[in-house]
């Protein structure tokens, strides 16, 4: 609890400092009217983090009325459905939350709904402080299309430190080590791999890290550009590895969400869990401190990234208000304040590490040095249609365990997306 209050105070402090410095460009007094921000951040730290940004904006531009348009539920699925109706109906929100990468590019940029932000990135110096791998994910046809407000890492293996210490094991860095550890843990009556795939995406999330671990960063990237064959033997190997891993999962995985399954780990009944780093904030909220983290097996030096970002719809009612909003999002002060509460890290590489938790400091270091690859299940790597078909194929694989049929479905999804022949 104290940690939260401290972090909030810290976030407020950063913004207070920021307010002394005026954002370059537009004069403050010029802005008035409304600013409608659309997101699916409705709960807990996410809602608080969004509110800090609103407060910062409001102090800077007091005449602008902020409208907080949120749609709860379904990890954004419901919000995305509402957003589509509004965009297609010609009534876009002024700026909206969207996963950076193909979810934005294929759905809204390629179809001509967005305005480019390259000049804003250049004038604010963001092209220099954001990693090249990230800018590549944000770009389409030479332009940059959205401002990333945070970065999450998907390919983390979380583990219960006490279980590993008691069993005299070290967290596995390779698949071979994983299976060796898993056998030892199973013999002790511990669930080796904690999985909750009730919502359908979680298995696809875990499999994405297996793909990276099997194919490497370049091989994995190639899957989404047509350079790596889905029908190839390495994808078969990844599916076989994943099948073997599933045999070590808790049997009630289908009934649990990822955090429900996480109770195994916090309760000392389960050893390892592959999940994004929002798990870090969840562990904290459960007052559970005895956890550790490593890259998922085979994922060392690869940063499987996803990012929430905001863009500028062409038909936004007041573009100056939106650009001012984007400027708050991209500023170092804005990113530090937001990510302290959200539990993610800055997309910028110049945030001050000592403000953040030990996990965040660790991952900030990797953000600067690792090879950055886009997450598919979280919208960065492929169009929404492709990502949905990928998700379905892996969700079925968990019960069917049919490698050949699943590989065929994955290949077909690539063909349907127009990337494979």
């Amino acid at each position: 609890m104290n940690g939260t209050i401290l972090r909030r105070a810290l976030a407020a402090g950063i913004l207070a400092a920021a307010l002394g410095v005026s954002w370059p460009g537009v004069s403050n007094a010029a802005l008035s009217g409304k600013l409608e921000i659309f997101s699916w951040w409705t709960a807990g730290g996410e809602a608080d983090a969004l509110k800090t940004l609103f407060d910062a904006y409001h102090k800077e531009y007091p005449a602008v009325q902020i409208v907080n348009a949120t749609v709860a539920g379904g990890a954004g699925t419901n919000a995305k459905a509402v957003l589509k109706t509004r965009m297609l109906g010609g009534d876009p929100p002024d700026s909206f939350q969207v996963h950076a990468g193909h979810e934005l590019i294929d759905t809204w940029v390629r179809t001509g709904f967005m305005a480019p932000l390259t000049s804003l990135f250049k004038s604010q110096g963001w092209v220099k402080v954001m990693p090249r791998g990230l800018l590549a994910i944000l770009s389409y046809r030479g332009d940059i299309w959205s401002v990333p407000v945070n970065i999450h890492r998907a390919n983390i293996l979380w583990y219960n430190r006490k279980i590993f210490a008691d069993a005299h094991l070290v967290p596995p860095a390779t698949f071979d080590a994983f299976f060796k550890d898993a056998d030892a843990l199973k013999a002790k009556g511990v669930v080796p791999l904690v999985l909750g795939d009730k919502e359908g995406w979680e298995a696809g999330h875990a499999f994405e890290t297996v793909l990276i671990g099997t194919l490497g960063a370049d091989g994995y990237r190639g899957l989404w550009t047509g350079k790596t064959a889905w029908a190839g033997p390495k994808v078969t190997a990844a599916l076989e590895t994943f099948k073997k891993m599933l045999a070590y999962a808790n049997t009630d995985h289908a009934a649990l969400t990822w955090d429900g399954a996480g109770e195994y780990l916090t309760g000392g009944l389960g050893a390892m869990m592959i999940m994004g780093d929002w798990a870090n904030g969840w562990f904290t909220s459960k007052n559970f401190a005895d956890y550790g983290w490593e890259p998922a097996p085979g994922n060392a030096d690869v940063y499987d990234a996803l990012s929430d970002s905001f863009g500028l719809p062409k038909r936004a009612r007041d573009k100056a208000n939106v650009v001012a909003w984007l400027r708050v999002l991209g500023s170092r002060e804005g990113q530090e304040a937001f990510n302290l509460l959200k539990g993610s890290i800055c997309a910028r590489t110049d945030c001050v590490p000592k403000l953040f938790s030990p996990y965040q400091q660790w991952t900030m270091k990797h953000w600067k040095t690792d090879a950055i690859v886009p997450s598919v299940i979280h919208g960065a790597a492929a169009s929404e249609g492709w990502a949905t078909e990928y998700k379905d194929a892996i969700a079925l694989f968990v019960t069917s365990r049919d490698t050949a049929a699943t590989q065929k479905s994955l290949q077909k999804a690539c063909v349907n997306a127009g990337v494979c022949q």
């Binding site: 009630d252 289908a254 929404e384 949905t388 379905d392 968990v398």
Partner: protein, 286 residues
């Protein structure tokens, strides 16, 4: 006075149904409409899709179990009430009450009741009840078991709709004149024979109405599945309507979504149109 409603119906029901049919024949698989003619490609793809095949099978299983459960339980309850059970109006209200609840609420409650719990964290809901009653052998994974899947959803749907079926049958039973029953008794029919030979045949129109009303609910079921299980393990509780939502609003495959909508429309039409034609005909005869 009738004209405005006819016009509204023509546009908002038949117009949009036709429009959806047209969309299903195009290549619209993106956010932006693409009306390039694609013929029946969306349908061909659909029947090749593993998810849609599982969905059709699920719908068939759900419909059979749901109809049998509602009609069986509804009729049994109606007979009990009709025979002058003590506190009849009290029980009638109890049995009808679930109908007043939305499928979303039903789904959430039954999700909790049929949550299997786990070996490590202990049983909950119905499984806990079975444990306490020393019937642990009957415990299952319910909707998390791919072999059960949609049938667990059917249990919740039966709970909600069998009271309604009871009301239909009760009204039917009450409208049968006592003379008929007495005549049957005079002819020497036992209770069982009276139901089999006299009452059930007379109630046939009620059964038909119940099957039509429940049948179209079961084909269109969406909210209950969303609230209770989602797609389930290996799509074992997935239904066409849920796939339609997923593929349209998550995957942007508008043509495919439209094709699913049209298939659902045809299935519902196959069920209801003969009934509507028949009932209109009898009304005209009268």
């Amino acid at each position: 006075m009738v004209l405005p409603s006819v016009a509204a119906l023509a546009v908002f029901v038949y117009g949009f149904a036709g429009w959806t049919g047209y969309v299903s024949l195009t290549r619209w698989n993106d956010v932006l409409p693409d009306y390039t003619w694609a013929g029946l490609r969306a349908y061909a793809d659909l029947f090749e899709s593993f998810r849609f095949r599982i969905d059709l099978l699920n719908t068939a299983r759900f419909t059979v179990v749901f109809l049998a459960g509602c009609v069986g339980i509804g009729f049994a309850l109606a007979v009990l009430l009709d025979r002058g059970l003590k506190g009849e109006s009290f029980f009638r209200t109890i049995f009808l009450a679930p109908l007043a609840i939305s499928f979303i609420v039903t789904g959430v409650v039954w999700r909790w009741l049929l949550n299997p719990g786990s070996a490590q964290l202990g049983s909950v809901g119905i499984n806990l009840l079975l444990d306490r009653a020393h019937l642990g052998v009957l415990k299952t994974g319910w909707y998390t078991d791919p072999r059960i899947g949609i049938l667990a959803v059917a249990v919740a749907a039966i709970w909600q709709m069998s009271g309604y079926t009871m009301a239909l049958y009760l009204a039917g039973l009450r409208s049968i004149p006592d003379e008929l029953r007495e005549a049957a008794r005079v002819d020497g029919a036992g209770e069982w024979q009276m139901y089999r030979r006299v009452l059930i045949p007379i109630l046939q129109p009620v059964t038909l109405s119940a099957v039509i009303i429940l049948g179209h609910i079961s084909l269109k079921i969406f909210d209950l599945v969303v609230a209770m299980t989602g797609s389930g393990p290996g799509f074992s509780s997935d239904v066409p309507a849920y796939f339609m939502f997923d593929t349209t609003f998550r995957g942007n495959h508008f043509a495919q979504g439209a094709a699913i909508a049209e298939i659902l429309l045809v299935l519902v039409a196959l069920l209801t149109v003969p009934y509507l034609v028949a009932s209109t005909r009898t009304e005209v005869e009268r």
